[in-house]
Amino acid sequence: MFTQQLVNGITEGSLFALIAISFSLVWGLLKLVNFAMGEIYMFGAYAGWIVVSYITPNLFLALIAGFAVGWGLGWIVEKVAFKALRGVPHIASLVCTIGFSFLFKEIAAAIFGAQTKAMPSFYSSTAIVVAGANVSWLQIFMVALAVGMMLLLQLLFYGTKIGLGVRAVALDYRTAGLMGIRVDRVTSIAFSLSGALAAFVGVLAAIYYNAINPYMGFVPGIKGFTAAVFGGITSIPGAILGGYLLGIIENMSVQFVSSGYKDFVSYLLLIVFLLFRPNGILGKKAKL
């Protein structure tokens, strides 16, 4: 049982980690939170579902579709909730993204209907058995994909000019601007990227949980944020650490509390960390 929960925790943790990175990215650049991240995740899931159900049951295509949809939605949110509200206290942007969150939710419900839809499953058969725990191909695939994505991001931030720009703007946007970095463009790209990541996770989640509905984004959004706070919202390694820890802790907690309270654990962790250690486990660290 214990190892099974661990395996599940690592798998879910991979998803949380990626969402947490999305939050971290936006926070690091703008000191802002995109409340609608969960809904972008949800649209990613729907995008993947459309591809797989109506176009071709190709997982990679679904992932790409999700990524693209998330990129677009991230771009929209940035233009309205952040760019248009420059100079206004951050809380206005947050409230605006709260509006987006509800807008997206209801648009999805209006278009796709509120019923939960099933997603065709992939690779769900058991691959290996480790210490009494069944690990499915899908789980391996998801963790691999997530880690792969993290490595790609690492490459992006440390190996490309754009990545350098992002890091510079996160550290000090004024100086970055003075050095010739186009801060507007960097911000826009980073924001779109954060949306794309969330949507990417959405596709994976849709397959893993085999269920899609317009309201599925709320809880993962909060959990992604919790994970980011948990590990330290200012850094990406923190987000990753937070994601995996949250996934593992949540799944382990099923041993002790009934499954109805599973989400409860995350919310409690969020409040506890906000109150006592808002800088997360890793503490205050510049973006790395």
Binding site: I91, R174, L274
Partner: protein, 339 residues
């Protein structure tokens, strides 16, 4: 908003008052009276959330939860102890205020963004507790059969009667909030919203007043919950989740933050939208999100609101970039201007 001179304001208030009293007879239809009653309850909810948002500048997304706590407290007390509404309702309010005080004490030191999530998490925790604490709350089945209030044999079962009850309640709450606003307490709150630091050097204990606003707000919200429970007579946890918190927030944002009339306007408009926009069918709910976005971007203080919430604090430079390179000298000048 249009400013009306003192004399006319009194006349206007009198007319509106008479209109409200005559409303059930003017409407005729019980369905509309029901809506009017719900508007009354939402007026209280929005006004009390405005205490937190508009007067102290803190944002809370947990108000749905307090609404639910009030409703459940009154329902549980009525059904298990058989106490009359007139006892359970104030008790529910006080209990909710207490919970609010605790939450406030714990979370009001957080910066705004984190406060939103903190209150949100709290709201979800409450909802989960209600859903799973079967022995107390009957979990997901909700609580049916909440008794109708009665006074010396006069029952409020009739929708019109309940409407008057809620009307009196809402009028009282708005009146109390108006009095608070124009007092030393209200000035301290507005000072906190405008500039916390300066307020503290004037002798305002900022944190204490924030908790006070939160507590009083939760008192009214809890009372509203009790009124709601005994009106609809069946409550369940899913009525008090994020959707509810969001609805109340949008009412405050649209109607106007930091003013007395703002939340009233917001409550009326947002309650009437489902009726007016019936033709949109399932796309109605899309409106709410769109409204909030539009309000924030176009007129952040809302229709009848008082500015001051979304203005950059003095001395803050703006994140201001165009396609051209920034000019540090010019940036210093630009800071502090209107958004």
């Amino acid at each position: 908003m249009i400013s009306i001179s003192r004399k006319y304001r009194l006349v206007l208030q009198l007319c509106v008052g008479l209109l409200l009293i005559a409303l059930p007879y003017l409407l005729g239809n019980q369905y509309f009276v029901r809506i009017a009653t719900m508007i009354g309850i939402y007026v209280v909810l929005a006004s009390s959330l405005n205490l937190i948002i508009g007067f102290t500048g803190m944002y809370s997304l947990g108000h749905g939860a307090f609404y639910g706590i009030g409703a459940y407290a009154s329902a549980i007390l009525s059904l298990s102890l058989h106490w009359p509404f007139w006892v359970t309702m104030p008790l529910a309010g006080l209990f909710t205020a207490m919970v609010g005080a605790f939450l406030g004490l714990a979370t009001l030191r957080l910066r705004q963004t984190f406060l939103v999530f903190g209150t949100l998490a709290f709201g979800e925790i409450v909802r989960i507790l209600i859903m799973n604490w079967n022995s107390l709350t009957r979990g997901p089945m909700g609580i049916p059969g909440i008794p109708v209030p009665s006074l010396f044999g006069f029952s409020f079962k009739n929708f019109s009667n309940y409407y008057y009850l809620v009307l009196a309640f809402a009028a009282l709450v708005v009146f109390l909030i108006a009095r608070l606003y124009r007092s030393r307490v209200g000035r301290a709150w507005v000072a906190i919203r405008e500039d916390e630091v300066a307020a503290s050097t004037m002798g305002v204990p900022v944190f204490g007043y924030k908790v006070l606003a939160f507590t009083i707000s939760c008192l009214f919200t809890g009372l509203a919950g009790a009124f709601y429970g005994h009106f609809v007579r069946y409550i369940s946890a899913d009525q008090f989740g994020m959707n509810e918190s969001f609805l109340i927030l949008t009412m405050v944002a649209l109607g106007g933050t930091g003013s007395i009339i703002g939340p009233v306007i917001g409550a009326v408009i947002l309650m009437l939208i489902p009726e007016v926009f019936r033709f949109l069918a399932q796309y109605r709910s899309v409106l709410y999100g769109a409204i909030l976005i539009l309000v924030i971007v176009i007129k952040p203080e809302g229709l009848a609101g008082v500015k001051g919430l979304f203005v950059p604090p003095s001395g803050t430079a703006r994140f201001q970039f165009r396609k051209r390179k920034i000019d540090p000298a010019a940036e210093g000048q630009a800071g502090g201007g209107a958004a």
